[in-house]
């Protein structure tokens, strides 16, 4: 028996969430009194996973898998789970993880719980807590099948060091065929994505127009943050849809979320309330967002934000 984690990498390097998944997988394995196996595909720094508790790394090297294909990767995970007699399979909740997980579940006839936010509260019956109702509530659910598939919600468990002496084993699964071909990948490089960001700076209609986003971008760049926006802003075409956070947009689970000129409609709050610390800057003291915030400033964004940029520059200079 084992617990299997899929640690995704990009150009050989692990994503930060892979270390969180490995840390989490190690704890689940301990709860079940078994070992952790981590599957990697075309990763170059497999040894780094030992630090987070990977007792065994199953290393797949495959030219065909250089481009992500959910069906092929799901099939590789199935073969790995069968080989390692894995009872729990854990994947990420990023774009590829969410694409993959339902396919893995069907391949293994396993029940699947997505958006899991904590360690299992019980291993028999296997019970997990997951986000539901767009994070307005949580659902405790039992996975009743022999094998369980879960996707871990980002930033919900954290990265924890748990050094083990691990080993790497090469694994050469059969690669399934797929009629779906990848034609083109367009990815902005050098910019922090909302999915990966520790800090997100978000602007709303209070900023009055797309020409005023310069200060939002400047604030984000000082903080190494991603930029985001409210739904009206993306509907008005001021900012791209990919920046829309909220109920029907992207969920945000960052450590710090700074909302500028966003009133805090219930649909917006649903998308961001998994963020740890929320800062709200708004002219309207009655804005509902203040009720959900940790720190608030009532004031004109066009005065407050430049001051904040200045103070952060000072802070960075003093703490460099």
């Amino acid at each position: 028996m084992s617990v299997l984690v899929f640690a995704e990498s990009s150009e050989g390097k692990f994503k930060k969430s892979s270390f969180e998944l490995t840390s989490y997988g190690k704890k689940v394995a301990e709860q079940l009194g078994t070992n952790l196996v981590v599957l990697t595909i075309n990763a170059t720094e497999n040894e780094t996973l030992y630090k987070y508790g990977a007792e065994k790394v199953l290393q797949v090297t495959s030219e065909v898998l250089a481009t992500f294909n959910a069906k092929k990767v799901a099939n590789v995970l199935k073969q790995a789970a069968e080989k390692e007699n894995s009872k729990v399979v854990i994947v990420d909740s990023n774009a590829n993880g969410l694409y993959l997980a339902p396919l893995v579940a069907v391949n293994l006839s396993a029940g699947f719980a997505s958006n899991v936010m904590a360690l299992p509260s019980s291993t028999s019956p296997f019970t997990v807590k997951r986000k539901a109702f767009s994070s307005k509530a949580f659902n405790n659910c039992k996975i009743s099948t022999d094998i369980k598939v879960i996707s871990l919600s980002k930033n919900s468990y954290g990265v924890h060091e748990n050094e083990v002496s691990g080993s790497i084993e090469g694994f050469s699964p059969v690669i399934a065929t797929s009629n779906l071909s990848s034609e083109k990948i367009e990815q902005t490089t050098g910019k922090v994505t909302i999915a990966d960001a520790d800090i997100v700076v978000s602007g709303g209609r209070g900023l009055k127009g797309p020409e005023n986003w310069g200060m939002v971008e400047e604030l984000a760049s000082i903080l190494g943050a991603a930029t985001a926006c409210s739904k009206p802003v993306s509907d008005l075409g001021w900012r791209p849809h990919s920046e829309h956070v909220g109920q029907t947009g992207k969920p945000v689970a960052s450590n710090l979320y700074i909302a500028i000129g966003i009133s805090g409609a219930i649909q917006h709050l649903a998308g961001i309330n998994s963020s740890k610390i929320k800062v709200v800057i708004n002219t309207d003291a009655e804005a509902p967002f203040f009720k959900a915030a940790d720190y608030g400033i009532v004031g004109d964004a066009f005065e407050v934000v430049p001051k904040l940029i200045e103070k952060l520059k000072e802070f960075k200079a003093n703490n460099a």
């Binding site: 959910a70 069906k71 990023n94 774009a95 969410l98 694409y99 997980a101 339902p102 396919l103 579940a105 069907v106 396993a110 029940g111 699947f112 997505s114 807590k129 539901a132 109702f133 767009s134 307005k136 509530a137 949580f138 659902n139 405790n140 659910c141 039992k142 996975i143 009743s144 099948t145 009629n179 779906l180 071909s181 990848s182 083109k184 990948i185 367009e186 990815q187 902005t188 999915a195 990966d196 520790d198 800090i199 903080l223 109920q247 029907t248 450590n255 710090l256 219930i266 740890k276 610390i277 203040f290 915030a293 940790d294 720190y295 400033i297 009532v298 004109d300 001051k307 103070k311 802070f315």
Partner: protein, 248 residues
Amino acid sequence: MKILVCISHVPDTTSKINFTENDTKFDSNGVQFVINPYDEFALTRAMWFKEKQGATVTVVNVGNASTEPTLRKALAIGADDAIRVNIEATDGFAVAKELAEVVKNGSYNLVLAGKESIDYNGGMVPGMLASLLDYNFVNACISLEIDGEKATISREIDGGKEVLSCNLPLIVAGQKGLVEEKDLRIPNMRGIMMARKKPLIVVESINSEAGTISVSFEKPTAKSACKMIDADNVGELVNLLHTEAKVI
């Protein structure tokens, strides 16, 4: 082209979320139910294929009779007919197995759904359905074009997009971008009248086995009050974020 659009019946986005029966059941008292917003993007795209390319559009829901007004709304928007699989939906895997029967029996070659429902946020039904049927599948789809048998699809990836292509049959789990918000349709009176006469067929469930069982619900604990900082003292915010919140 025969299109099937999967419709979830969910509480409106502004609903207060409460639970009853010792926090084991969603409290639907006073709650307005709507077509799941992600499914509405899919339905709207299907309408486009119907009008421009002569596709037929069937909508389907797995649920009890209380979901029928939501299916009627989809018919009023323009779907040709509706199917309700008569069993309460409690688990995504079970729903996917029920839908697989519907797809097989109706030989649909394009299945559109939202990437997740806004109530349980399981995000699993479209992918599971594709896997059960061995159909091509694209998740988090932000554009879809069909030319004869060939489909060109874009999906959102972290920090960008990927363009994919394949032949039908295909299952797509959509989100905003598939159509724009302004393209969404509000049923007009004529549509509502016509919807009453359109077929809504109830099929019995195959009693598929669930993968998960809901035990209970919780609401987030109330958070402490927001700490207000004077607009003339922005430096204090930087200080608190560093020393108290420890996020910078």
